[in-house]
């Protein structure tokens, strides 16, 4: 179902806010995974503002939908989204990376409200998500599990072990995304460890694959609703994205996987976002 004009405006506003937050946090924290944080924002926004049944006042609510950010290093994007959604005070993020903060590169699920699993070590998220989905089904619960992976992360064998299991157990209450920004630390994914034909691999492992533009809210909406409706097996949403999306000097740049920003680049990044969202 197509999104209404109001919904699109809301989502765009939230996405703009989230991207501004990512840039700001990168500034005061001394450095963050800004590239991969910016590429995953739109997926997080549409999930938290349209599809996920959650209650920020009640993060342990039994029947909530779960999100596992398997690409845990995008914590710099996830944390502000949770904060703005009402899980905790945004001001706490000023301590990002600082001593004793619950917020570092990888969010600590023991300490941060709203985080369903402590990820960071790649390849751990999907297996955990599979376990959650199985648990939901066994207990006849209707809540869903969403899992967002990085594409480089799919080098990890444990991802494919979990994929096999998800298909084997026909986990239709699990919706899996891959943030396909095509870059990792040492270079492009296709140069370091070739993933293509990527969609075919997921299909071979038993998933139905929906390949879309990961920054298009309408496409995301269609894909998610398709996943909700599909009864034959798990769905993979292959979201094509740009690492560093929204900040011109970072887009599709390998080196901005992780970095720090001084006052001047911070301003440049903010201006770039303002321009991208027509806020000049």
């Amino acid at each position: 179902m197509a999104l209404t004009k109001e919904e699109l405006t809301l989502l765009a506003d939230k996405a703009y806010q989230a991207r501004r937050d990512v840039v700001d946090i990168t500034g005061w924290s001394g450095g963050a995974h800004i590239g991969g944080g910016l590429s995953v924002v739109d997926m997080l926004i549409i999930l938290y503002y349209k599809y996920m049944k959650v209650d920020p006042k009640n993060p342990d609510w039994e029947d909530r939908d779960r999100l596992i950010l398997s690409k845990g290093h995008a914590g710099v994007a996830y944390a502000p989204v949770l904060a703005r959604k009402g899980y905790f005070d945004f001001e706490l993020l000023k301590g990002f990376n600082k001593f004793k903060s619950p917020f570092g590169m990888h969010l600590d699920g023991n300490k941060v409200r709203g985080v369903d699993a402590s990820t960071g070590s790649l390849g751990h998220g999907l297996p955990i998500a599979v376990g959650m989905a199985l648990g939901a089904r066994l207990q006849k619960k209707s809540w869903r599990t969403y899992c967002i992976l990085g594409d480089g992360e799919c080098n990890e064998g444990s991802v494919w072990e979990a994929a096999m299991a998800a298909a084997h157990f026909k986990l239709t209450n699990l919706v899996t995304f891959v943030d396909r920004n095509k870059l990792m630390i040492d270079g492009a994914t296709e140069e370091i460890m070739n993933l293509e034909p990527f969609a075919d691999k997921w299909k071979a492992f038993g998933f139905i694959v929906k390949e879309i533009d990961g920054h298009d809210f309408n496409a995301l909406a269609d894909a998610i609703e398709y996943a909700h409706a599909e009864k034959s097996g798990p769905v993979l949403i292959l979201a094509n994205t740009a690492k560093g999306k929204g900040v011109e000097f970072m887009e599709n740049q390998v080196k901005w996987h992780y970095g720090g920003l001084d006052s001047e680049l911070l301003e440049s990044a903010r201006n770039s976002l303002d321009k991208a969202y027509g806020r000049v």
Binding site: N97, F99, K100, G120, G157, M184, I192, G259, D262, S263
Partner: protein, 336 residues
């Protein structure tokens, strides 16, 4: 004056001091055609990337797949090559623990592992990327040699010597921004032999890794301010441990404190305690490290302060053990 310093993961290449060992590896690579390098999408972060630049055909990046990484390393070693594998300590010692033990140690293969970001040196990344258990895990694998160098120069020495050292070797280093202790490589580094950095008779500090630098700072202050004669041992090789140096310290100074960027359980402290107990000796003894917990998030320098592994913390611990008071330098006027 220059800008505030904006940097990305690629600039880390230029900034760190870990490049010393990268260069050594290249020099070795020229002399030994059987040396090959491997990493798991961390070639640039671990400095083995320098080897890759010089010998691209002899370098294998398996992508983010550590279990595969060590399995492949084992295979390469079996085919007659000398693999140097580099990835983060957490993934080496835990994610691929079984491959390291069963494929490499059990089959006693000549694989040299350079594990980076050991201890809490990747502070901001949080527990998933810390490794305060690796010394404990690695020394429990038979056939494994475990080295924790004090700085980039010592790492270079360790890399050079492990080429001819038989069997698997685990060299654990930090993130590359650690303070440099040594001025050059000519101080008589030998695998398995502790280096006595300061002679002393009142108390011995046995250290490895970054605590070496900080202990020497503390020892200097203790000597000048408190008149204490402090012995500092750089115990870079945890396995095989230099038991002779430990026993000498026990009998000659009767007080031993061990400092390490590792859980108090199972690391250097435990190794030293084992020697003391095995030999039926008694002495004032303390192990200082991460107190059996998962470290906080924070910049590593702040974590070292918090867990009392920096000079100030070491000073405090020594003074406590020696029951002493001290005077602070309270001159805070700017020099004009």
């Amino acid at each position: 004056m220059a800008e505030g310093l904006s940097w990305t993961v690629y600039d880390a290449d230029t900034l760190t001091q870990a490049e010393i060992y990268g260069q050594v590896l290249c020099d070795l690579g020229k002399m030994r055609p059987d040396i090959v390098g491997l990493s798991a999408d961390l070639a640039k972060s671990t400095k083995i990337g320098k080897f890759q630049d010089h010998f691209p055909d002899r370098f294998f990046n398996v992508g983010i797949a550590e279990q595969n990484l060590f399995g492949v390393a084992a295979g390469l070693a079996k085919s007659g090559l000398l693999p140097f594998v580099s990835t983060m300590a957490a993934f080496t010692a835990m994610r691929a623990a079984e491959q390291v033990r069963t494929d490499i140690c059990y089959q006693n293969l000549n694989v040299k592992i350079i594990a980076t970001h050991g201890g809490a040196s990747f502070g901001q990344a949080g527990t998933t990327h810390h490794c305060t258990e690796d010394i404990a895990i690695m020394r429990s694998f038979a056939n494994m040699t475990v080295i924790v160098p004090a700085d980039g120069i010592e790492t270079a020495n360790a890399v050079k010597q492990c080429v001819d050292w038989p069997g698997p070797v685990y060299i654990r280093i930090g993130r590359g921004f650690e303070p440099r202790y040594y001025d050059n490589e000519e101080y008589g580094f030998r695998i398995g032999k502790a280096v006595e950095l300061a002679p002393g008779t009142d108390i011995t500090l046995i250290c490895c890794g970054i605590t070496v630098f900080h202990a020497m700072e503390a020892a200097k202050i203790l000597k000048e301010n408190d008149g204490l004669s402090v012995r500092v041992l750089n115990m870079h090789t945890i396995k095989p441990l230099d038991t002779e140096a430990v026993l000498k310290a026990v009998t000659e100074t009767r007080r031993v404190i061990v400092f390490e960027e590792h859980n108090r359980i199972g690391g250097l402290g435990s190794a030293v305690a084992e020697v003391i107990a095995d030999n039926g000796k008694g002495c004032a003894f303390k192990r200082v490290g991460i107190p059996d917990c998962y470290c906080e998030v924070g910049y590593p320098e702040d974590l070292y302060t918090h867990y009392k592994l920096d000079a100030d913390g070491i000073l405090e611990t020594v003074r406590e053990v020696m029951n002493m008071d001290f005077e602070e330098d309270e001159d805070w006027e700017d020099e004009v």
